[in-house]
């Protein structure tokens, strides 16, 4: 038996698969201790057997956002303890005289330096002084730190000094995380930041998973895995050691769920899908070109975190986004949000107009069925909140509400253009897949503005992330910078570095319980034209590295450069910068469950009418039903608005396929 659980800010979602049937439930999250919500959800689902629990957790992310972090210290090469604070020396906003920066994650009093130096060629210029290290450790032990982050210059070329310091820290009873392990890649600020984030969130994660594991065991959990940002899961032990890999746990589970649904619903292993998850305050979008998208250039809560993560683009546009008119008379929607508290004006507490209020005024929310009928919404309050806008914009209330929707859609459209058009993909080649609470109200109009003609709305869109947690394998990523000053790394050196990464990968996946024969390894590399500063990742064919692999990698790079930037320079030398290995251990995954078959007519699902628009109950739809918009579909945790001009078909698994009909 499998259980997937995704903890969000408001709800904790669960999906249970007993080998045949799928059950879902949603319980309130418990922010003071999220593990309680997880246990509540399990209790509600009442598993009849012992189970494997895969959990998407926001514990690390919340700790970072709220700065409820472990007390960490940092050890750097002498002269570089302020790298963490100086960053890239830019101010956050160009024209804002009041601009601020969050204080560094580790204060200067806990940033220590040691005399040592490795050169850009990996040679030791100054050996580490053990006595000095001992002295620093003794001080840190007295300063009662929880964990020590070690980040020395060029440690990815020569990690011996960092290892020595780590050993000394352990001798003093201190936990430790070192940059040559977390991110053995060049650029000291980004590496330091990533390592420091890991130091600050890992102890928090450890405490959380220990408590959760203990309690979940009593409910029947045999095994507990945590969803990582890269779209794979990992044992709780490994997750607690390297919690920096879980910062995007929830959103990554959502995208993994989108991929799993798309593979089934579109009946292809490599679906082309743009995932669209609109919530109360923000919207996450990702482009899946046959697989989950990965980036190594992400920032989280303003800090560079350069481990591989799902490439998810977030904008401050959601159901709670607030609409305002500025002094020059332009309508703005978001990024300010009414969130869940006070919430949209129609909840009866807040008074500022939001996207949800605009949807309600336009008749796209069915009051009796909002959040399964559990939340009362007041159209009068929504209209009242919009009134000042209506007056100043000098238009009727429907037009004003439509203008609010247009702007929030434009913000989301721009987010999708960033991940598609700007990276060389034409959105028209993709299916727009919507999930989350608010997405269904916007997805068809959003698709239209991007000229996307196919929309997919999965069954149970409100718990897709919990499903995604069950749809992923165990994966780990490994990397190392191999850039050389004077020459290109030769084939032998590259093969040797790959082998070292793979040996480490096998060792760690064996610890996760996979026999060698089951472990899958794939190689990729970050390349750039000699002299450039940004690399593009390309995957490499399997097998011992030789000239053929080099040629294949470079050919793929030229093509990727052309696609992304509009030009390629096949005559220029290509630099091999960072090697990457991804290790995968396959696990059992749930099957999607077919729904009841029916005829073409969807009459049976008809519930009522709102104005001229039919309201249908999504739970009563049958496979094979087909009809045309406009229609409103209600279900427990989502509403879907299908405007006129769209054709809807229900597939075998209950997913909705919406197609824009060619206008005559």
């Amino acid at each position: 038996m499998l259980i997937g659980i995704d903890t969000g800010g408001t709800f904790t979602d669960l999906v249970l698969f007993d080998g045949q049937h799928v059950r879902t439930c949603k319980v309130p999250s418990t922010p003071e201790d999220f593990s309680r919500g997880v246990l509540d959800a399990i209790q509600e689902a009442q598993p009849s057997d012992s189970f494997t629990l895969v959990h998407a957790s926001t514990v690390a992310t919340n700790a970072l956002l709220e700065r409820k972090l472990a007390r960490a210290a940092l050890i750097t090469t002498h002269g570089f303890r302020d790298v963490l604070e100086i960053g890239r020396q830019t101010r956050p906003e160009l024209y804002n005289l009041a601009t601020t920066r969050p204080p560094p994650l580790i204060p200067r009093s806990l940033r220590k330096q040691v005399r040592e130096r490795v050169s850009a060629t990996g040679d030791i210029l100054q050996p580490l002084n053990e006595a000095e290290v001992e002295k620093v450790m003794a001080t840190l032990a007295k300063q009662r730190v929880d964990i020590v982050a070690v980040c020395l210059l060029f440690s990815f070329l020569h990690p011996a000094h960092e290892k020595q310091i780590a050993a000394a820290a352990r001798r003093h009873g201190l936990k430790v995380t070192r940059s040559s392990e977390v991110l053995p890649e060049f650029r000291e600020f980004e590496r330091t930041s990533t390592t420091v984030v890991n130091a600050c969130v890992s102890p928090v994660m450890q405490t959380y998973v220990k408590r959760l594991a203990r309690n979940a065991k009593q409910t029947g959990a045999r095994q507990l895995r945590i969803v990582q940002s890269n779209g794979g899961s990992l044992s709780v032990h490994a997750a607690g050691e390297a919690a920096v890999h879980t910062l995007l746990s929830g959103p990554a589970a959502g995208v993994a769920g989108a991929l799993a649904v798309a593979r089934t619903a579109l009946q292809t292993e490599s679906p082309q899908v743009i995932s669209f998850d609109m919530g109360g305050t923000s919207t996450d979008v990702a482009l899946l070109n046959g697989d989950v998208p990965i980036t190594t250039e992400a920032d989280v809560a303003g800090w560079p975190v350069r481990v591989p993560m799902m490439d998810i683009h977030t904008v401050g546009a959601g159901g709670g986004s607030i609409a305002t008119l500025d002094a020059g008379g332009a309508l703005q929607v978001g990024p300010e949000s009414a969130g869940a508290d006070p919430g949209p004006a129609c909840y009866g507490v807040g008074t500022r107009p939001t996207v949800t209020d605009a949807n309600l005024v336009l008749g796209r929310i069915v009051p009796d069925h909002f959040l399964g009928g559990r939340k009362r919404v007041d159209r009068e309050a929504a209209a009242e909140a919009l009134a000042p806008l209506v007056q100043r914009m000098n238009m009727d209330i429907e037009s004003a509400a439509a203008a609010v929707i247009r702007i929030v859609n434009a913000n989301m459209e721009r987010a999708i253009r960033v991940i598609s058009v700007e990276r060389g993909h034409d959105p028209r080649d993709f299916t727009l897949l919507s999930y989350g609470g608010a997405g269904g109200l916007h997805v068809c109009e959003l698709a239209r503005s991007l000229r996307i003609t196919r929309v997919l709305i999965p069954r149970h869109p409100g718990v897709l992330s919990a499903w995604g947690a069950l749809a992923m394998d165990v994966t780990k990523d490994y990397s190392r910078t191999v850039l050389q000053v004077d020459a290109r790394p030769n084939d032998r050196r590259i093969e040797r570095a790959f082998q070292q990464l793979e040996t480490q990968a096998r060792r760690e996946l064996r610890k996760e319980g996979f026999p060698d024969a089951k472990i899958m390894l794939s190689r990729s590399v970050d390349l750039r034209y000699a002299g450039q500063s940004y690399e593009l990742p390309v995957s490499l064919p399997a097998g011992r590295f030789d000239a053929t692999h080099r040629r294949a990698g470079e050919a793929a790079f030229h093509a990727a450069h052309e696609r992304r930037f509009g030009h390629a320079e096949p005559d220029l030398p290509v630099e091999w910068v960072t090697l990457r290995v991804r290790a995968t251990g396959p696990v059992a995954k749930p099957q999607q469950e077919p729904i009841q078959k029916g005829g073409r007519s969807a009459q049976g699902a008809r519930l009522s009418k709102q104005g001229d628009v039919d309201v249908m109950d999504r739970e009563r739809l049958c496979a094979g039903n087909e009809w045309q918009g406009p229609v409103l579909l209600v279900e427990d945790f989502a509403t879907t608005w299908i405007p006129g001009g769209w054709q809807v078909r229900v597939d075998k698994w209950g997913h909705l396929h919406c197609t824009e009909m060619q206008s005559a």
Binding site: I86, A98, S119, A120, D326, G328, Q332, V333, E422, D486
Partner: protein, 537 residues
């Protein structure tokens, strides 16, 4: 065209659309460029202009390009009144649309269906690490512009889509690092191609008349916003004098004198009484002075304050913002130099002092909004020579962060770029891969920010060891004239330059050219920001 009330949703929608195009051009340029200047430090700007050459959107990169980019477009339009599809104009002449020679600007027209009158122009300006001249890096302590490098008047470098190789070859032949120039210019061209493609997509979707209408409404809208802000400033005349340390050739302090006159929703900024143009390169051309003034007023427009209550998002930044602002810079002065004066440092240093002077004046009108002086210099360090590891010449240019001035209600930030620049640093590890240099220290210097109710931000110190014999040029300011405090706050600590050779330590002047030996360490300490408010005891 009939003037209609703009649709509030249109304003936001199209402002975002045009800004996004400029930003996307910037993304391509940063990611495909070759010199660390552009790719690591982002010393470039991309902008979109309407058919009349008015700036519609600029990617927020470098404020010093604000006033200068429109002048580049105007110059290109005047030189080539009949640009065709696929043409690109190149220029860098500070006396013809440029700012200083390393900034090479490309301008290209984008046409709608009417092929005679461009719908829009695109411009990219990037700081090239070397364009020739007397020292590697092309930021010399020069006496006339002819020493500063290759001067490019407006030339058509691409004609109807075909590259005019002769123009490019001429540029390459005049640079110490031609391969880098080639890569950087290619990246600039790629940004233009991308920008044009995006604009044509919008054209297909909305049509030329609609785009034109939206552009003109956006200009109008921005002007309205700036006027609303100016109206909140009490009418009156506010004067301030700040000074540059010296010209590096024996002059004393060089005053920048400004009078800011606010009347209703209009502002006049008058530099009468500023020093005459100086003997070395610290002269600003008029475009730079305009940029610096525009920057100050954009800050008032953008900073959340009582000047515009209740606003939740950023206003668009376009030429409309500058309509209510008039700048008077007397010809022949240090803020409006004439040929053949040297200008390399006006862009990077004098521009900062102009901002300090204008903000000093505005602080009298808006004491609760305007901060004390920030470091007021870019701390330009240029190192060049032959890299013995490869036998190839190298030219490395860097600017260093310093302390930010304290705000009326908050401390200044430590170690950030001030006002007219916001370029990133080059990571030590990237630097040591690329150049025969080693960074030995990169730290914040405690106590360098001025004391006050709110403290100025601290400056930083950076030690760089030469691994080869290296030619160095330092073009730094605020080594004697400290960044001022306000409302009783103390001034920040001035910066300090030093040379460590073996056991000897020597103080270096703010502006100097010198030959460094392998093993020498160059030490730069940057100024702290001024404090704000009386020191609480």
């Amino acid at each position: 065209m009939k003037k209609t009330t703009p649709n509030p949703a249109d304003l936001t929608f199209f402002a975002n659309l045009f800004t996004r195009i400029a930003e996307e051009m910037g993304g391509v340029l940063a990611r495909t460029a070759y010199s660390p200047n552009i790719k690591e430090r982002r010393d470039f700007s991309c902008a979109l202009f309407d058919g009349a050459g008015q700036m519609i959107a600029q990617a927020a990169h470098i404020p010093v390009h604000l006033g200068a980019m429109p002048l580049s477009v105007a110059t290109a339009r005047a030189a080539f009144p009949k640009l065709a599809v696929g043409d690109v104009v190149m220029l860098n002449d500070p006396y013809a649309g440029g700012t200083h020679l390393p900034d090479i600007t490309l301008i290209s027209p984008v046409f709608g269906s009417a092929k005679r009158q461009p719908l829009a122009y695109l411009a990219t300006r990037a700081h090239h690490a070397d364009v020739g001249g007397m020292t590697p890096g092309s930021l010399p302590l020069s006496r006339e512009i002819y020493q500063e490098g290759l001067r490019i008047p407006p030339v058509r470098c691409v004609e109807r889509g075909t590259i005019n190789q002769a123009v490019f070859d001429l540029v390459f032949a005049n640079s110490r690092t031609p391969a880098e120039r080639q890569g950087d210019l290619r990246a600039q061209l790629a940004a233009h191609t991308l920008g044009e493609r995006r604009l044509l997509e919008s054209l297909e979707r909305y049509g030329a008349p609609e785009l034109r209408r939206q552009m003109s409404q956006l200009l109008e809208y921005a002007a309205t916003l700036m006027q609303a802000t100016l109206k909140q400033i009490p009418d009156g005349s506010y004067s301030f004098v700040d000074q540059l340390d010296d010209d590096g050739a024996g002059s004393g302090p060089l005053p920048i004198r400004v009078e800011v006159r606010i009347r209703g929703d209009q502002a006049e900024i008058d530099f009468t009484g500023s020093a005459p143009a100086c003997a070395t390169s610290l002269n600003a051309v008029e475009a730079i002075t305009q940029s610096a003034v525009y920057y100050c007023f954009l800050c008032l427009l953008v900073t959340p304050s009582r000047l515009h209550p209740g606003r939740s998002s950023l206003p668009p930044i376009n030429a409309g913002c500058f309509r209510p602002i008039a700048v008077h810079a007397p010809p022949g002065s240090i803020v409006n130099a004439e040929p053949p004066h040297a200008v390399a440092g006006g862009n990077v240093e004098t521009s900062q002092r102009i901002v300090d002077a204008v903000l000093g004046a505005l602080a009298q009108a808006l004491p609760d909004i305007v901060p004390a002086a920030s470091q007021g210099t870019m701390n330009n360090v240029t190192l060049g020579g032959i890299d013995t590891r490869t036998g190839q010449p190298f030219a490395y240019y860097e600017t260093l962060a310093g302390g930010m001035g304290a705000r009326p209600n908050a401390d200044g930030l430590h170690a950030v770029q001030a006002h007219m620049t916001n370029t990133m640093n080059t990571p030590a590890e990237a630097l040591e891969y690329a150049y025969p240099l080693r960074v030995e220290r990169y730290e914040i210097v405690a106590g360098t920010g001025g004391k006050g109710t709110y403290r100025g931000g601290n400056g930083l110190i950076r030690d760089v060891r030469m691994l080869n014999d290296t030619h160095a040029v330092l073009l730094t300011e605020r080594r004697t004239q400290a960044p001022y405090g306000l409302a009783g706050g103390e001034a920040g600590t001035p910066g300090d330059n030093g040379l460590i050779r073996g056991r000897q330590r020597k103080r270096l002047p703010g502006k100097i050219e010198l030959e460094l030996k392998a093993g020498d360490v160059l030490r730069i300490q940057t100024p702290g920001g001024g404090g704000h408010g009386a020191i609480l005891t």
